[in-house]
């Protein structure tokens, strides 16, 4: 059972026995240098030292957010340069990223942040771009590289019929790159609610033999949509999806309860431990099945 490293939470949470591995977003331990460095990311040593002290001997996996692996104009090379140094100082068991893009070329050719991750269209061009990059990353770090299925709100993206939809997109990418899947069940749930499909049928179509990690999280209703907010407890329907998925995704190595830094203290350590306990219970029952 995994949990993100959140500096604001009490250290004892990570030593309570509820957490078997920790998920670290290395960008949160970095600062961006601007002047003349092309946005280089610099690891802040004292933040890393504190994280390592809190996490102790727990195995660590990386969950990045800044790579923008799907940006056609180029991914964030500064992120990978930083990750090279990060791996040398704190080795990770595997490495994951979100399938999507969050930068575009500006009018002057420089990279512009969109401010929110956007979905890739399910096209052959997107498959080729991300699959080749994923394979390159797997070679670069010599640990499994996982792509996470995203939540998205925009319907009617351009698509190639042979790819179809978001599930077809990630399946085709993983097939071409021989990569691994981080199956975010809350994202499947969000998309099912917002776009009106059956989440269990979507899971049946996902490449479950490639699942290495599963995410569960909470969200909330907003403006007629179910929002992927990572802001609280896991909805019952997502627990049902976990029960359904675990026996079918036989290579799953861990399940992470995701919550954002800003909501974690409000949710509290007790509730977090309770959610992790529920994951452990399902894991024990359904893996045995």
């Amino acid at each position: 059972m995994g949990f993100p490293y959140i500096a604001e939470l009490p250290a004892k949470l990570y030593r309570s026995g509820s957490v078997d591995f920790v998920e670290v977003t290395p960008e949160t331990l970095c600062r961006q240098r601007t002047a003349g460095t092309g946005g280089a990311l610099e690891i802040v040593e004292d933040r890393v030292d504190r994280a390592r002290e809190i996490c102790g001997a727990l195995p660590m996996v990386v969950h990045g957010v800044e790579l923008s692996i799907g940006s056609a104009h180029g991914w964030n090379a500064a992120y990978l340069d930083m990750l090279d140094a990060f791996q040398a100082s704190w080795p990770f068991v595997w490495h994951s990223e979100h399938l999507g893009f969050q930068t575009i070329p500006g009018e002057d050719g420089a990279s512009l942040e969109v401010g929110v991750p956007l979905p890739l269209p399910p096209t052959k061009e997107a498959v080729a771009l991300v699959a080749d990059r994923s394979a390159a990353i797997a070679r670069r770090y010599a640990v499994p590289f996982l792509l996470e299925n995203p939540a998205y709100y925009i319907a009617d993206l351009p698509c190639d019929p042979e790819i179809g939809d978001d599930i077809g997109l990630i399946a085709a990418i993983l097939d071409r790159s021989d990569g691994c899947l981080l199956l975010d069940l809350h994202n499947v749930y969000c998309n099912a609610v917002n776009h009106g499909f059956d989440p269990f049928a979507a899971i049946d179509r996902a490449p479950l033999n490639r699942v290495v990690e599963i995410h569960v999280a909470g969200g909330s209703p907003r403006d007629g949509f179910w929002m992927d907010g990572h802001n609280g407890r896991v909805p019952e329907r997502v627990w049902e999806l976990l029960e359904y998925t675990l026996p079918r995704a036989r290579h799953t190595a861990g399940v992470v309860f995701e919550v954002l830094d800003e909501f974690a203290p409000r949710l509290g350590a007790e509730a977090i431990v309770e959610q992790l306990g529920r994951i452990r219970d399902i894991w024990t029952r359904r893996r045995a099945a």
Binding site: R31, T34, E113, L118, P121, A155, F225
Partner: protein, 243 residues
Amino acid sequence: MRLLDFQTALGRLVRAPDGGDPLRTLDLGADDRSRLEALAESPGFRFTVGVQRSWCIRRAANAGYMTLSILPDNLRRRLLDEWTNSGGGTSSFFATEAEALLDFIADRLPHPSHELTACRLEQAALRANEIAARFRAPDLDRLDNARCVVRRGRYAAIVLFYGEPDLILGALLEHRPHPPVLAETTAVLFGPGLDRLYRPASGSEVTLWKRLTAPVAIPVLRREGYRRDVIETMLRAGAVEYA
């Protein structure tokens, strides 16, 4: 439609959905353009824009917390709207966002004003704090080298208060009537090598700081009468650094 064109168009639409014609410089056919225009009218797109705006405003509000908190509500809201409408609030990196946002706000505040002083103070404190934990005083023997050149410290600043600093800050933070903006100023030096990151600046330090708008060789400074002990003190504070 090529992936690059689609992403550029979608990204621009999300960043500035109401700002003129974000697609104007893209080489799009009529079909692609009408498809994107229809997409931009969809509920899912509008929701995505709402999420983007809320994230950008949250990042900006965190990055300029003190300055924004002392401004009147209507001015704070207008500045945040202008900032996010111009593409601000998109950086996930706090220091990057804070530096740019506080420059943006400073450009829109009256000069001189206590609010501008507070804005520059927040920027100076964040900048000095960013490297304070790993700051090491430089080797002062390098000053003996005839080719030694110094410049302003990149993580330092001198902030001018137009009146008594404690009175001004107290009034701003507690939303009390502001003291008058006086012609006489008090200079406060911020640097990563200072104990609490700041202290009052001496007249000699202010003069040296003003001189270093560009890098200057030490022999030139000495010929102009700048004292070595002042240069050394500012080097130790991180207010001056070797170029």
